[in-house]
Amino acid sequence: MDHIKKKAYLINTIAVVALYLVFFVLIQTKTMNNYFVGIAIMTCIMIIMAMSLNIVAGFLGEMALGHAGFMAIGAYASASFSMALIDSGLPLPQLVILILAMIVGGIVAGIFGFLIGTPTLRLRGDYLGIVTIGFSEIIRIFFINFGPTGGAAGLKGITRLVNFHNVYWVTIIVAFLIFTLGRSKQGRAIISIREDEIAAEAAGIPTTQYKVLAFSLAAFFAGVGGALYAHYQSFLEPSKFGFMFSIEMFVIVVLGGLGSITGSIISAIVLTVLPEMLRSFAEYRLLVYSLVLIIMMIFRPQGIFGRTEFSLTAFIESLIQRKNVKKSIGGGEAS
C-alpha cells in the first residue's frame, strides 16, 4: 500500500465513522425518530440490493430484471434458518444469529444464482432480461404455493434482529467488498466481458465462468439484503417480491450509473427517500416519482455518475486546490 492509497483509506474510514457517529448521536438524542430510522434502515437495504445488482448490470453489463427473486430466496431461507435456530434454544446473541442468517441467506441465494445463471447466461441482452424476469416470477409463484413458508398469507413470526447500527455496518462492509471486487483481477475479468466478450475470450478470460461468478455473487449479496429485509420486517409476503420490485432496483442502478458503486448508493438514497418525502402528496406521489425518472433520464442518460466513482479523497483535494487557486488570485490582486 503506497502513501496515496493509505491516505484514501484513512479519509474514507474517517468519513464512514463520522457519518455513523452523526447518526448515532441523532438516534440517541431522539432527534431522529423511529420513522426516520425505519427509512434509513430500508435505504441501507436498498443500497445493498442496488450494489449487488450492479455486479451483473454494471460490471458484467447484462440486463438482469429478476433481482427480487434472489432477494426472496435469501429472505425466506434466512428467516426459516433463524426461526429454527431460535426455536432450538441455543443461547446465541442476536448479532450472531443475524450474521449466521445473512450467511445462510446469501449462500442459498448464491447457489440459486449459480444454478439459474449456468444455463441462461448463454443468452444476451433483452432475451436474458426476460428470462431473469421469468425465473423471479417462478420463484415468487413457488413461494405463493409453498406451504411451509406460509404460502400466500406470508411467513410470520420472524424475530426482528435488524437495527440501524448493524444494518449500517453491513452496508459499509458490502460496499467495501463490492468496490474491491471491481478492482481485483476477478472484477477486471467481469468488466472486460461487458466491454467486449470476444476480446475478453481472446485475452484469455474464461468468460462463461466469470459470467456465472458475477451472477452468483450478485445473487449472494441479494440474499444478504433479503436476509436483512426479513429480519427487519419480521414478516414476509411473496407478493412483495414481484416484477415491479426488480424493476425498482434496476431503476436505481441505471439512475446511479451502471458500474458505479457510489452512484448506486446515492441513487438508492434518493429513490428511497424521495417517495417518502412525497408521501403527503398522496396519489400524486407516484406521478411525481415517474416524472422525475423520465426527466433525469432525458437529461442525464448515463446516470448520476456514469461509470465513474465519487472519490472523497479527490473531492477534498479539489476543494483544497481551489482554495490554493483562489489564494494565488487574491495574492495577485494585492500586489
Binding site: 452523526v22 398469507a153 434518493v270 408521501r279 396519489e283 473531492f315
Partner: protein, 381 residues
C-alpha cells in the same frame, strides 16, 4: 469543472437530506385536533379496497366533526397509501406515529400490511382498530389490536351452513383466488363446514391474483355440474366471473362472501339470484344503515361497499372509545376499546378477549333485480 459542480451538488444534497432527517422532529397533535391515522392501499392493484375504506372513514370523521367532534375537538384523519406493500405500510405507520402524532390507527386495510405493522404496533401499544384485515393472526398476542370485521373462517362457515341448510346443496365447487389470503382463508373454512354438513366438494379451481381470464376454470366447473359454486373474492373479480358463467350458461347458484358487496351495481344481470354473506343489509330498516348509505351516495356519488361500511364503523367505534376514555392516552383508549359496544352499520360491535368482534351476525344477502335484498342472518356458535 463540471464534474466538481456535480459532486459539490451531491454532497450538498446528501447533507441536506441528513439535516432534513434531523430537522423534522415530531410535530405532535396540536391541542384542538385529535389525529387518527389511516393506512391502506390507494394506488396499485388493491387501490380500491384502501380507498373505499378510507372514504367510509372520512365520511364518519366529517359527520362526527359536524356533530361537535370529541369534546369540542375536531378529528383529523391522516391517511397514507400503503401500496399494499409491507415496507410502505411500516413507513406509513412510523410516520403517522412520529411525524403526525396520531393517537390511534384505523388500519391496515389488508391482512398482509397489517401483519407487517403488527409487531411495532404492539411494541408502541398503539390503539389499532383494523376495519377489514381478516387474517386470524392480526389480533393474536396483540392486546392493543382490534378489528371490526369478522374473520375469514367465521364467514366461510356461515356461507357453508347457508348453502347446505337453506339452499339444500349437496355438491359444491369452489373457485379460489390463490395468492389472495382472504379468498383462500374463506374457502378453507367453507370446505370444512360444507363437508361437515354432509355435502361433497365436487372440485376446486383456482386463479392467480392478476388473472382476468376465467374461461378455462369455468369450463371445467360447468362439467362438474355442482349445486353451488362458492367464489369468495372481491367485486372486480367476482363480477367478470359471474358474467362469464352466465355467458357459458352455468346454472348452479353462486355463493360468495363480503367481498361481493357492490356487485349489484355493475353486474346486476350476472349476479341475479345469487347469494353472499355480508356485514349488513342495505335494505335494512335500521336508521344507521340508511343514513350511512344516503350520506355516502351524496358524498361520493356511488354505492358503498363493505369496506366503506367497515371503515365508517371503525372510526365511530374508535371515537366512542376515545370519548369514553376521556383522554388520548394509549392505555386508556385500549381499555375503553375493550368495552366497546357500538351499534353500527355492520351490526353491534363488541370485542372478545382477542380483539375480534364477538357474536357478530353474518347477514345473507340475495341479489335480486339489481338490489341487495336481506335474506337471513346466521350466527355461528
Amino acid at each position: 469543472m463540471k464534474k466538481r459542480v456535480v459532486s459539490v451538488l451531491l454532497v450538498v444534497m446528501f447533507t441536506a437530506s441528513i439535516f432534513a432527517f434531523a430537522g423534522c422532529s415530531t410535530s405532535g397533535g396540536s391541542a384542538d385536533v385529535v389525529k387518527l391515522g389511516f393506512i391502506g392501499p390507494m394506488t396499485g392493484d388493491a387501490a380500491i379496497y384502501g380507498s373505499s375504506a378510507e372514504e367510509g372513514a372520512q365520511l364518519a370523521v366529517a359527520e362526527i366533526n359536524a356533530a361537535g367532534g370529541i369534546d369540542g375537538k375536531n378529528i383529523e384523519l391522516v391517511a397514507y397509501d400503503s401500496k399494499a406493500d409491507q415496507t410502505e405500510a411500516i413507513n406509513a405507520y412510523n410516520r403517522l406515529r412520529d411525524q403526525d402524532g396520531v393517537v390511534a390507527v384505523i388500519g391496515g386495510t389488508l391482512s398482509g400490511e397489517t401483519l407487517a405493522m403488527k409487531d411495532i404496533m404492539v411494541q408502541d401499544n398503539m390503539p389499532v382498530l383494523s376495519p377489514t384485515a381478516t387474517a386470524v393472526e392480526v389480533t393474536q398476542a396483540a392486546p392493543n389490536v382490534f378489528r371490526a370485521c369478522f374473520l375469514d373462517d367465521y364467514q366461510g362457515q356461515a356461507a357453508a351452513n347457508f348453502a347446505a341448510t337453506t339452499l339444500g346443496a349437496k355438491t359444491a365447487a369452489l373457485l379460489i383466488g390463490t395468492g389472495n389470503p382472504y379468498s383462500e382463508g374463506v374457502s378453507e373454512a367453507f370446505k370444512a363446514a360444507f363437508t361437515a354438513k354432509g355435502g361433497t366438494i365436487a372440485g376446486s379451481e383456482s386463479y392467480g391474483t392478476a388473472d382476468k381470464d376465467f374461461s378455462a376454470q369455468l369450463t371445467k366447473i360447468k362439467e362438474m355440474n355442482p349445486d353451488v359454486v362458492f367464489v369468495p373474492d372481491y367485486v372486480q373479480t367476482v363480477g367478470p366471473i359471474l358474467q362469464k358463467a352466465k355467458e357459458m350458461g352455468i346454472t348452479a347458484k353462486f355463493v360468495g362472501a363480503d367481498g361481493w358487496d357492490g356487485v349489484q351495481e355493475e353486474y346486476a344481470d350476472a349476479a341475479q339470484g345469487n347469494y353472499f354473506t355480508n356485514h349488513y343489509a342495505a335494505d335494512s330498516p335500521s336508521e344507521t344503515v340508511q343514513n350511512f348509505i344516503t350520506a355516502y351516495k351524496k358524498e361520493y356519488d356511488k354505492v358503498p361497499n363493505s369496506f366503506a361500511a367497515l371503515g365508517y364503523d371503525a372510526v365511530y367505534a374508535m371515537v366512542e372509545a376515545i370519548t369514553a376514555a376521556g383522554s388520548t392516552d394509549s392505555a386508556d383508549i385500549i381499555t375503553a376499546l375493550k368495552a366497546t359496544d357500538h351499534a353500527g352499520v355492520t351490526g353491534t360491535l363488541k370485542f372478545d378477549e382477542e380483539g375480534n368482534p364477538k357474536d357478530k351476525e353474518v347477514t345473507i344477502i340475495k341479489i335480486d333485480g339489481g338490489q341487495l335484498k336481506f335474506d337471513s342472518t346466521v350466527v355461528n356458535k
